[in-house]
């Protein structure tokens, strides 16, 4: 087995086992620690798939941002009996059964489908491989795609050559950035320290 497969199996097993551990662990802080391993493993999966930028973004935002937020939330609300909340055995059984059935459905669907695959030559050519330069070009409008939608057939009934249209993803990126800013301001306002009025029944 070559290095790529070996690395994939290592990273996949680590990520999968830690994802299962997130579900199974009763202690909420340990669950967060397993989530760290899962997110780090997912970043490793992205690096294996050649998506460097997405992998680094996963590390900086998910691990260095969202997970810190989750752990701060855990620290602010973890008081003695709430660190480990027990779940009844019946709920465990139902959840496990549903989970396994869902996974089996997804797995059989995945394995029974044939997908077209990119050849290695295409990946090794720096022009067509998906490095960060292509990603940047896609954001800036330097990328051209062939749309799959049906083009209207002209009156002469001549077959239409599929055109290449440029795409730019900068506007959705800006929208998403402003969205994030607005949401974070709103969340900070929602979660501001208010005077405790005691338990409201």
């Amino acid at each position: 087995m070559d290095l790529q497969t070996f690395l994939f199996w290592t990273v996949a097993i680590v990520t999968g086992l830690s994802a299962i551990a997130v579900v199974v662990t009763q202690n909420i802080v340990r669950s967060a620690a397993w989530l760290l391993v899962t997110l780090g493993g997912t970043a490793g999966v992205y690096f294996l798939l050649g998506a460097d930028f997405v992998g680094a973004t996963q590390l900086i935002i998910y691990v260095g941002g969202i997970l810190i937020l989750v752990v701060f939330g855990v620290m602010l609300t973890a008081q003695g009996p709430f660190i480990s909340m027990k779940v009844g055995a019946a709920e465990w059984a139902i959840a496990m059964v549903v989970g396994i059935v869902l996974f089996v459905v997804l797995a059989t669907t995945t394995m029974s489908a044939t997908w077209p695959t990119t050849t290695e030559a295409r990946m090794n050519n720096p022009e067509t491989s998906m490095n960060s330069a292509t990603l940047a070009g896609a954001f800036l409008g330097l990328r051209e795609v062939t749309p799959k939608a049906r083009m209207p057939i002209p009156p002469g009934d001549v077959p239409v050559v599929p055109m290449r249209t440029p795409v730019a993803y900068l506007l959705p990126f800006e929208i998403v950035s402003v969205h994030l800013l607005v949401v974070l301001i709103g969340a900070a306002y929602l979660a501001r320290a208010k005077r405790r009025r005691g338990t409201v029944a």
Partner: protein
Amino acid sequence: MVDRLSVYLDPNLAQLIVAVVAASVLVGFVALSAVFFIWLERKVSGRIQDRLGPTRVGGKFGWLQTIADGVKLLIKEDTIPASADQVLFRVSVYIAFCGSFLAFLALPFGNNVVALNLNIAVFFILAAMSTEVFGIILAGYGSGSKWSLFGGMREAAQMVSYEVPRAICVIIPVIVAGTMNLTTIGQQQMGGFWNWYLFHDPFTFGAFWVFFTCATASCKRAPFDLAEAESELVAGFHTEFSGLRWSFFFMAEYGSMFAVSGIATLLFLGGWHTGFVGFELSDWLYGVSGGQTWLWVVGNAINVLVFIIKGWFLVFVMIWVRWTLPRLRIDQVMMTCLRYLLPLSCVLLVGVTAWQLAAMQWEWLDYTRFVLGILCLVLLIWMIVKAIQSFGTTPTEMMPGAWRARQPSAPAVAGKF
């Protein structure tokens, strides 16, 4: 190098061997640097506090003091508090350690002397160093003590807050360079020292100082080290860690200090270039000698040495600042970030973008770097001359104010400084 080895071996095995060798060299270098920094810290702190520092172990300068410290830490009892979370207490150390060391994968030490030549090297280093925070949080929580928890949460808030102006200050030279590839950024600063991005325009000049401040804060070094101050929280998140575990945290701290110094060197101070020769040393040596490989290796070695010296100098500045400035309170630490450094870095970002656009219109703006470079050189020479001049004078002559007021009552102790 992988291709050369795969002539002899299976290509996968060759890749694995090269990877293991590169990782070992990096880990060995960082460990060696940590040994040097600990000794340097004790000597520098000693001198600043008017004492000598270690002088006994390993000759007159105490070279082997760090080894003695390491041996002491190794044989210390490994105590784990009873109320500590057993798994998290042990694991948190390694998370902090890995987060700090992962950054060195993409840090070039010379021209293409890098373990992994990533196109997004700077982004990857920032991302890798941001995973260290989680180790701090788990260490603080897992210790099972109030002081550790407070220290850990304060540290985490501080480190996460300072990541924002640090990242903005990293974007500023990236805008000037046009690439995130640290090898390319280093190659662009070839030639005289006025080519360094530090002198490129006033905004990158400011960005260097802001970056250095944010980097010091995010490495939780003084004056931003309230969360591990003895008078406040015993030792913060690493109170309960003793022996080898504590030394791992220490190595992680010194590792990230060198990593941010390395980034500052590459982005602002010209990387591996000496700043005095007008060409790339390794290529010139290779070319002028007619293709001698060993001269190319020598050139690369000189580049690596220059880079390491610059990195070590910046770490020395961090150590110097630690023992000179008083500590900031935790609210002062957060306000420095949010009220001063963050708006300042945003202004610098807008400024450098405007400068780049203006430089396309007015070509004479390119000569700013010569002006700034010469000014800084003159300032540096003046400071060195002043420092040399002050060696022969006593403090009473140098410091006005309080000293002069006491002179009539107490006889001035006249002696060589």
